[in-house]
Symmetry: C2
Subunit: 223 residues, 2 copies
Amino acid sequence: MSGFKQDINDQFARLGKALSNGRRLELLEYLAQSERSVEQLARVSGLSVANTSQHLQQMRQAGLVSARREGKHILYSLAGEDVVQLLGVLRTVAERRLAEVREMVAKVLTARDSLEPVQAAELLERSRLGLVSVLDVRPPEEFEAGHLPGALNLTLAELERHLDRLPPDREVIAYCRGPYCVLSFEAVARLRAHGFQARRLEQGYPEWKLAGLPTQTGDAPRD
Amino acid sequence: MSGFKQDINDQFARLGKALSNGRRLELLEYLAQSERSVEQLARVSGLSVANTSQHLQQMRQAGLVSARREGKHILYSLAGEDVVQLLGVLRTVAERRLAEVREMVAKVLTARDSLEPVQAAELLERSRLGLVSVLDVRPPEEFEAGHLPGALNLTLAELERHLDRLPPDREVIAYCRGPYCVLSFEAVARLRAHGFQARRLEQGYPEWKLAGLPTQTGDAPRD
DNA sequence: GAGGCTTTCAAGCGATCAATTGAACGAGCA
DNA sequence: TGCTCGTTCAATTGATCGCTTGAAAGCCTC
């Protein structure tokens, strides 16, 4: 009976343990975009397949991710949207309480993006009025699994070859995987170098979806 | 530049690591009630003083707690209310995703409290109408640092000697440190054994305060 | 200042963790 | 039935964790 307190806290600690490794948090961010096979996750994260598999199993035992088989692949995905929320709160507390995080963010921000990022509500409003173009800088697989309505999908590698797809007189709002994903920082920097007005969306796609805002799925015209 | 992703996730993982031990989570729950000295925390948690100190320093480096000196004691407290929120989300996800947690909770619940717990809004309303007595089952130190308005403070040890302080015709709503604190479960069980109508408040004091609901500080008449 | 608290440090123990390597599993397909 | 290929297991390495023990460090009070 008195052991209940210890036991239940040990259970909660299982979740903490699953969140106690930077590589696992990175995998969670990828999974927040779309479900992925072990191999895909290993490739995008730069980890070995065996190592990736072990991390995924650890998180599965902690209830953060789930897996299903499709053909010869096993597809992992987040166990639910509450995991996105947990990640969000973790990052919020980290940014507020850890000076190192604030410094790292400030360094990236001042180096590349002196302007305030755009909030979701502001983007919705200005997008409705046709004042902005929305740019998704993630890889096509993640884009196809879900993206902001009307967004154009261009990776960093493609961006400068297809600037003509962006109306030159409209501000561009770029987003990617999350609030700390560097892709949108880099995209904004490059767009500005080419004379565009460009800003970042503060949140990434998973947070947008978590907030219940409208999304689209399916691929976009590519070349 | 490309190391940013790794670095920032490693920073977030520092928080996860701080949350990866059941004893630390227990300490955080105590700190959510009121600031405490190392010695007090060691006593209430059953850990050695040295061990407690080490856990606290670990959490301080992770930005979860802060410390100040008062006289010959060093008082630790939560770094902010966002830590309470983080704990809340962690527990919510754990209860939703870990079968073990659900089982443990169900066992305690069915063994002692078959009724649904009371929500904060319901308590506020019924308390305003004078329909219920509010009972705080935490130790006096925690009660004095902050409690629900109009609450009576009786520990489990005192409860049965002072049943006369509770109007016999009003339902009693008991609360303690948090949603998984056993004190209020036990209090409800004992009150019912004495013929009272009694239920638990679903949340504990820290969650009540985090929600911005009214609180009181200061001690109560004791004997 | 000296003594007496509380707290922290430092060393050491067994246990666990992250990552590598190579082998084993197992579902799909010929 | 075999073969293939994605995934997992098993064993290993070095590093870190949790806790204990005993000593050191601060700081208050006298």
